[in-house]
Subunit: 274 residues, 2 copies
Amino acid sequence: MLPGCLLLTGLLRSASTASSAPRMPKNMGSWDKFTSSSCYSHSNNASSKARLTAKEQLDPLALIKDEVSEVTDRLRSMVVAEVPELTSAAGYFFSAGAEGKRTCPTVLLLMASAISMKISDGLENRSRARHMRVAEITEMIHISSLIHDDVLDDADTRRGMDSLNFTVGKKLAVLAGDFLLFRAFSAAVSLDNTEVVSLLATAVNNLVTGELMQMSITPAQRCSMDYYLQKTYYKTAALISNSCKAIAVITGQTAEIQALAYQHNSFTRQSLLV
Amino acid sequence: MLPGCLLLTGLLRSASTASSAPRMPKNMGSWDKFTSSSCYSHSNNASSKARLTAKEQLDPLALIKDEVSEVTDRLRSMVVAEVPELTSAAGYFFSAGAEGKRTCPTVLLLMASAISMKISDGLENRSRARHMRVAEITEMIHISSLIHDDVLDDADTRRGMDSLNFTVGKKLAVLAGDFLLFRAFSAAVSLDNTEVVSLLATAVNNLVTGELMQMSITPAQRCSMDYYLQKTYYKTAALISNSCKAIAVITGQTAEIQALAYQHNSFTRQSLLV
């Protein structure tokens, strides 16, 4: 079993022992069986291994470090608009020092490493390129929602710096969020997979619904753990959950593994929040 | 030649005589040849003809009146969200008396009538249903942009009534616009045609770019007719142009007819504005 799989399986096991497990499937053995038999790391080839030190081989994040940087670089080139002001605003959170923890691409590329099959190099590279596209799209949807959230909340700061609305004004911030959503959907369409585009569209709907649930909360709902969990799932987990499933769909995994990929993140995030 | 074709061909001819014709193709004869030989009206069957009076048969709008009403009804049922406040806000401009002129579905369904081939009833019905989906998607993108524009402009009124942001506040209005965009993309994905989804995504990008061009205009640009035409094209014509092309793509038309469908509206709207 490779480090990427170890990390994901470990997270999954931690999640399975948590007390509130409404979405966790009963037959957890299938995941263990799957990861121990067929999981695959993108760096599981001679040249990649030679580049990694012994310590790095035990560090799952080291396996995808270069690819996460590549995703970040590509994102900067993807958000170029016809009007310079829009390029500058849409690229605000992709500039050096403003990228944040890059959780979305990190989790998604680790998931891709964990569930990818051992296939011929050509096919594997093509599949990996599509995994990276999903990581880029997810990050754009995430940043779009952060920008619109900050407009809605009149937030002054984000990621330890001035928020975009504080820097360029609310109007341009709303348009920058719309533009990022357009770029994300355009990139999703280029994947030429209706199910994947549909999963990403559902994630956008969940983000909007979660924000609305937070905005319109009643005193009774404020005391409901179910409401809190649902709202939190929509606002923080649904995007990566749907994207994890998209990774499994692109990899050609079975419906069972697709469901596990979806549930893994949703459950991990919620167990960390409770 | 049927009334739907007559209207579109007439508009096209008017457009071709306008002085500023940067996007109009040189071989206009191909459109005439096409419409006179193969254009088709949805109402060109015995039962529909029986329902139409002689006067109505000369009125192109009468040909698609029932379908435009059907699109309006379907839109009301399509914008139902999980949170009631969001349903109410997103459906604000689809409620009775607030639908406006319904220009998008009207133009698109007339275009569909003009360029559809005579094919067997089953295929024709399926194709027509997809044309109506494009009309619905286009109307949702249009309303989403109106809602966000009103937020950006602090507008109090729209369509002779209170604007959505004035009625429910800016926050909910921004989310309602995002939700409509999500619903539009979800519906577009269900058409299972990558080119059509890509055309609609381009239209959203054009709307955002046009709004930005208006917002960030310099004194020199304010005196430029080219800048004005480009901004106006993005803000008012690009959506229906791309959707008209999507109609032609769905109908299985040639690249030439797809280009004419795209240029027809773009040119007509601009010639009306100049």
